[in-house]
Symmetry: C2
Subunit: 471 residues, 2 copies
């Protein structure tokens, strides 16, 4: 647990056991730093944490006060977010993606692994061979649910994790986002309630807005990522139709939820009959020996639609994803016929050959090893240089590091400043549409360490350190 | 003009000049056949034509009567179609596409040219070469608006027709349907009025339903395909926001609207400030020397979003289309980032090389020649064997023939019967959600004539001839 979370836990106890009653004034930041022996930064982060939980509030120029405790009311942990048709995030995402697109920008803001680690030679060779053969462009497989052999192979990979399935449960889509969007469209009507993680892949916010859904958010648990208690409170109070969660190497924060917690989440989904769209595009990029289980594993009632893709393991340009759709297969195919129709037939055929060979597993093993090594190097360097003023979240699995900045640093401003210096970072505003939490950035750490990477990181570190505390 | 249309025109005059007043009974079918010297089929088709125009009506077992003429009211030519969320056409399209998917089904129902005529060897060779090169999967071009070189090349092809444009006007999409859907989404809000051709590509019905639009339909003009007068009446009476038209080798009927008529349509669009989504996926498959002009040519006010693709000329499995989006480019890119993101990068790169070479034009020339030759052969054979009982519409361009069946033959029933005999045809119910016009089929005539094609056609012909008149 991070220092600021330890401190926050301690202060929370003081509030809950009545040591600090409602409306009493808390020690100032500097006083608290002296009392506790923690740094000013740590105290600021701890106070912000308590404020986000609704336990304390701040008055301008007067300091922090203990909030009234309201039990048995609408859960404090949640927020009903009003989305409007011109929601800011769309143009923010657009500008952001355009800004980091140039090859001159250091790609710490990218959502994809270093492309040198993807597009394995053997796959390209297969593609090259198949591309010459007219049969690879077979029109009859150019319709939902997609290439049968590929669906069988995907079904087998579920079976390897103990999830019973067959090819008919799987629908091939034009990439992972297509799988997620189709699933959400199949499960909802405008006006339905959807539960999102508060800090989450921006595609979820955009899909909810486009489909006219009411969004409730679930804040991250400070240590395990998923707050089961808050989750239960929310589903007791709101008629949630669908949850859209990422629980393995969560984008952007990076945590992976434990099997035990997943089991409990699944039990609640079952009890309240709530569907889950499981975004699991990082499932193969775990570290350690065992692939983490998806929520689908714990789903005995066809409530989970598990979505994944080859974009993060083989290459984003392939645009091949899938959804374990089960009984929703036909409905999703209907929606596909009206929109994306299918993934590229040549690529699907090449994937059949590549995925069925030992080359695929070998590629995944190497990819995992390299990502783990590179992320470790980044983590060390960042902790060494930013550990005093930032909280560095580097969980096992995936290739993102989540950096909580000092509270005086706005992540959007930092992103804008860094872009002028040719460095891309993903500001938290991309992942969280609530205003009060824009002090974090996501860093892509998939790159092999070299001089230009280090120079890029140094520029980033300098920028963070050189912005003065303004109050 | 077809015989039935000549007769209908003649009878229409008799009604309009008062020879046959309102409520008077028309001669029976047999009487009319004797009077006019036309066959019973021709008379039936003429009466149906007049009924569709609202000029006459039928009473069960009593025959046909002249309708009251209501001038200066809401135009008779149009229909406001109520779509509901579970509109029948979605599951009909789904079942239809599944039913013709098998290789054992004679592909007269397919929407794509014979695949032997597509996927030119030179393109496959280019693809094969590029597939080996990791740079072909470049992630930076994996974002809207798509590959710059490809957009430049597409812009040049517009310029060849005298349409000023540059790469920034073009957005690459995941196939033509994606281009159409994105355009419609960019231009409309739920509840807006959209004008569709009454018999049109089913994707237009589905898109309108999904976006919650109110649909008005424009019936085909019996000879030139597009009824300018009815069009003007409709836009005078309804607040049409967007038209979605196909005017070159229209799917499914096959007509191409003249330049003169296009110019007049454009003037009306300008006058009423109505946007047009122009579906022009068959633009390259003209017959004769000159490529027909798109509506975009006549558009001086950025009202036309011209959509096309490589699916009908190079292969459906490539999933690369585009829209000439002009000032709507950024808006469409926003929508793409939330849904399909981009077309496959490898394919885009290969298309750049192929389309810029002389091989592309050579391929198109050959494709056009073969389609024209094959369609001619089909037309002759069908006219010879079905000319007595059906009207065979075989316009220049494209590869579809539209067959109007005798009125006692329901096209859906014919389709169901033929599928059991391993023959696929596209029934008019796929293209027209109005109930009263389900007596036509679309035939794909792109195939080289051979024994099995002839056998397939013979089965089709026998089925049509052997179903007895039931009244």
């Amino acid at each position: 647990m991070y220092k600021s979370e330890q401190l926050a836990q301690h202060l929370k106890q003081l509030i809950e056991n009545g040591t600090w009653p409602a409306q009493s004034k808390l020690p100032s930041l500097r006083e608290q730093a002296e009392i506790s022996g923690f740094s000013l930064m740590t105290v600021m982060n701890a106070y912000q944490n308590l404020e986000a939980q609704g336990l304390i509030y701040s008055k301008e120029k007067s300091g922090y006060f203990v909030a009234e405790q309201s039990k048995n009311q609408t859960p404090q942990a949640t927020t009903l977010v009003s989305l409007n048709p011109k929601i800011e995030i769309n143009s923010l995402v657009f500008k952001y993606l355009k800004s980091i697109q140039s090859k001159d920008i250091v790609p710490f803001g990218s959502a994809f692994p270093d492309h040198h680690l993807l597009t394995p030679a053997k796959l390209l060779q297969t593609l090259s061979q198949m591309a010459r053969d007219r049969n690879s462009y077979d029109q009859t497989s150019n319709l939902p649910p997609g290439n049968l052999a590929l669906r069988k192979m995907i079904a087998q990979r579920y079976a390897m994790q103990g999830i019973a399935t067959d090819a008919d449960d799987i629908v091939i889509t034009s990439g992972g986002l297509d799988a997620l969007n189709l699933s959400l469209q199949a499960l909802t009507q405008p006006g339905d309630y959807i539960l999102l993680q508060q800090t989450t892949f921006y595609g979820a916010w955009q899909a909810a807005e486009r489909l006219g859904l009411k969004v409730i958010t679930l804040p991250e648990h400070p240590t395990h990522g998923f707050d089961l208690q808050a989750f239960e409170q929310i589903i007791q109070h709101y008629p949630i139709k669908v949850c859209w969660f990422m629980l393995n190497a969560q984008n952007p924060i990076g945590f992976t939820v434990s099997d035990d917690l997943k089991y409990k989440i699944a039990k609640l989904l079952h009890q309240y009959h709530i569907h889950l769209i499981e975004d699991d595009v990082y499932e193969e990029l775990y570290s350690g020996l065992n692939k983490p289980l998806p929520m689908k594993y714990f789903d005995s009632n066809n409530l989970v639609l598990h979505c994944s893709s080859f974009s993060k393991t083989l290459g984003a340009g392939f645009r091949v994803g899938w959804v374990y759709a089960g009984k929703y297969s036909e409905q999703i195919q209907h929606l596909q016929l009206m929109s994306t129709i299918s993934a590229n037939t040549l690529i699907q055929n090449a994937l059949v050959e590549f995925v069925s060979s030992h080359h695929y597993e070998k590629h995944l093993r190497q990819l995992r090893q390299r990502l783990e090594k590179n992320k470790k190097r980044f983590t060390q360097y960042l902790k060494q240089h930013l550990g005093q003023c930032c909280e560095i979240y580097s969980f096992s699995g995936g290739y993102f590091i989540w950096i909580k900045l000092p509270l005086y640093l706005n992540s959007l401003e930092l992103y804008h400043q860094l872009i002028t210096q040719q460095i891309g970072v993903a500001p938290s505003a991309l992942f969280n549409v609530l205003e009060n939490n824009q002090h974090a950035i996501r860093l892509n750490c998939s790159f092999e360490w070299n001089a230009s990477i280090q120079t890029g990181l140094d520029t980033l570190i300098d920028s963070i350190l050189n912005i003065q505390i303004q109050s």
